[in-house]
Amino acid sequence: MAFQRDGFAGPIDIISGSEAELALEEVQKELSEKEANRFKLHLVLPCILTKLHIILN
């Protein structure tokens, strides 16, 4: 397998272009000046946290 031989693999089709576009819309709400956003929880999404922040404050 290419991954074992080379240490990488791709491109691999994961989601459709339209699904990626939807995810990108969510991302664009979250982009910071730092150009990077790290997070841990994958159900508590950054976009949901933002909405929650609005609700709670």
Binding site: F8, I12, I14, I15, G17, L24, K40, L49
Partner: protein, 260 residues
Amino acid sequence: MYFDQIAHHPKLIAAVKHALDSEDIWLWSSDINTKKEQSTNFFSPHQDATYAGLSPAAQCVTAWVALSDPVGENEGCLSFYPGSHQLGQLPHCVDKNNNNNNNNKNNMLSLGQYIDATIMQTLKSPISIPLRAGQATLHSFDCVHASGPNNSTFPRVGLALRYMTCYVKQTKPNKEMATWICGSRYPDISEKDNNDTTMQERAMNAQNEELQCSEQLCYFDVEPRLPLHPNEADFERGRRAQKGAMEREDLNYFATPPDE
């Protein structure tokens, strides 16, 4: 399409399981990776294993999912050095303020780290992998990779997801949090010791912080999963858990680098 769905996507997980040759997959960390339009910023050649503290690195893999379209060489797609994962951990120079080397001024890596030119000269030529939105690459934590500037007129955006098998340990002092993806084993906990409930149930139970603390896992807490219909208290609990987890991860990541 939320990130949680992408992180658990069957096609992605099948590729990760195949790459790691394991049925027990956990997600260590994630980030949204962006290069603004007409940006001269770049990621210098590096190995993800260098500061992560995860061992064995060969059982960790990064998936990079393109969200913007396209992510080609003009947009600064990832390029990989074939076979470099077989060299083990290579020494990285640290240039946190990016002032040791003019060529490193726009390096986006957190510590400005880079691999010395004398080592780079020994590697095979890099291979760029252009992506369309929704496509992904996988690379080993030991694979040297890089990405160039974004010369296009739109932001280059991707989602980096870092997966590991249940046999991976965190070698740095602070206990971190990981997300269960599939399989029946906790990291560093034998199946015999945790076969009383399913992993899904245990992950759900971990939403209670007291329960989570009582798990006494050696290297990782289990990421709390929210109930199907979360209320504001659930969200707040999740936000606290996330904040604490990221603080611990930062403490580990920015601890004394191995080459200092």
